[in-house]
Symmetry: C2
Subunit: 273 residues, 2 copies
């Protein structure tokens, strides 16, 4: 048999950035990662991580990231500006912007850093759930293009259909990985942090206008722990605390199959209904 | 009896900002709110909220805030730049910087917005705890100046002393309010979100070098709900999920005495030890 080099994964194409004038980097939205309006927010967040990672003056790996979704990104090219605000001995602070034709669509801040050995402990327990092969694969509706890039196996809180009705709590727990499978890295993990459909859909048993306003990711795992996941499933579990006057929060944890808490992630979501 | 106008509260002096050249606003650190190195991070976060609130083009009230602490703020004057990145119909995106003599010390992003009536629900239960008058007042050690501006009544997870030893979990729950008491508003609530001493002190039963790297606040309550708290205590409860290689996370909820979930807040903290 002849070994054929695999073509690059769609995800890598979706977050690919090339240097442009004035220190900007330029990317392009991929129809495969389209959401209802604009691209999937997870891929936009991942592009910010990638922008810092490939910056020549970058120090260390992602520690925290906050992305604010200011306006829909149109299909086509976008420019990311990544500015170093401060470099300390062991960490570095970034401010980022994504613009199209000079109009700001998304802003972000990031902290990257070098980790050192310290006392360590994971205080939360990983949810006790069946293994991925014991949980059926469930597709999201066809009109959500980006979801076809992920295998989702819902343990609880699957996306509602016409018969679901209201649900007493907002918890969704699922096994998820890229489709086709792809080794985990910081951008892919960042994108997975936004894989949960809006919690208000689950509570209300119906779709409505909703979109992430602000997303934060805290990276607990270092590069080695992330690489150790290979292309295995990640277990994500998300829940809201309060829905009030047009906004709700979501807090989620992303676990490696080996029991490593890879990331905590939080978001504030706009909804109408 | 003669009515005498109360002097302004120390907190208001700590977050007071005056217009300076080039659209900047200028503040000044207050020794009363000093932390181990630089000012208490809660007051810095509150100053960013205040900077947006008093901006002539501000739309609505705080929805979310993320503050990244890049470098220690020196005692003295500081300048805040508040830039509108995008104004939508019902919300507005801000990028902010705090600098001293042109050197960036803290960065932030904020989303402000106008709330509308929607379906609402608080999904988390308020912890069931004794009322504030049934919980003894506890002072933090004298060298933590800022803590003297808060009445803290610890229900669980009080700050450790020499005899404490290790603690199995990182939960602190406390009743807290400004000292002297002061009506709650968005800046004061923001500051309260950072009132928890570092969770690693509780787990390890000892002090060590630690400092917030990134703080996020999601404001669940609108201006009316916040004003309704008056100068009553707020119940805060905070916990970490993972301590790993120099960083840990903290997630907290801030409840009004009337059972309103006022804010959810998250932070990533650097530690050494």
């Amino acid at each position: 048999m002849t070994e054929i080099a695999a073509p690059p994964h769609r995800f890598d194409a979706a977050v690919a950035l090339v240097p442009a004038a004035d220190g900007l980097v330029r990317g392009r939205t991929l129809p495969a990662y389209a959401n209802m309006v604009g691209p999937f927010g997870g891929v936009t967040a991942a592009a910010f991580v990638r922008a810092v990672q490939q910056h020549p003056d970058r120090l260390g790996d992602p520690i925290s990231l906050t992305v604010n979704y200011a306006a829909p990104i149109a299909d086509g090219d976008f420019d990311i500006t990544a500015r170093i605000m401060r470099t300390n001995r062991s960490n570095q602070h970034w401010t980022l912007e994504l613009a199209q034709e000079g109009e700001v669509k998304t802003t972000a801040t990031a902290v990257f850093g070098i980790r050192r050995d310290t006392w360590s402990d994971t205080e939360t327990d990983m949810p006790s759930v069946p293994s991925p092969d014991a949980v059926p694969l469930q597709d999201l509706p066809d009109f959500i293009a980006w979801a076809r890039n992920y295998e989702m196996r819902f343990v609880e809180g699957a996306i509602p259909d016409e018969t679901s009705g209201e649900h007493p709590d907002s918890t969704t727990t699922l096994w998820v990985r890229d489709a086709p499978a792809r080794p985990l890295d910081f951008p892919a993990l960042t994108s997975l942090c936004d894989v949960f459909y809006p919690r208000v859909f689950l509570r209300r048993g119906q779709y409505m206008a909703a979109g992430t306003v602000s997303l934060t990711v805290y990276f607990h795992a270092d590069a080695e722990e992330i690489a150790a996941q290979g292309d295995e499933y990640v277990l994500g579990t998300a829940r809201s605390r309060r829905f009030s006057r047009g906004y709700f929060d979501q807090t989620a944890q992303m676990w490696g199959r080996d029991g490593t808490l890879l990331a905590s992630t939080h978001q504030l979501v706009y909804f109408k209904g």
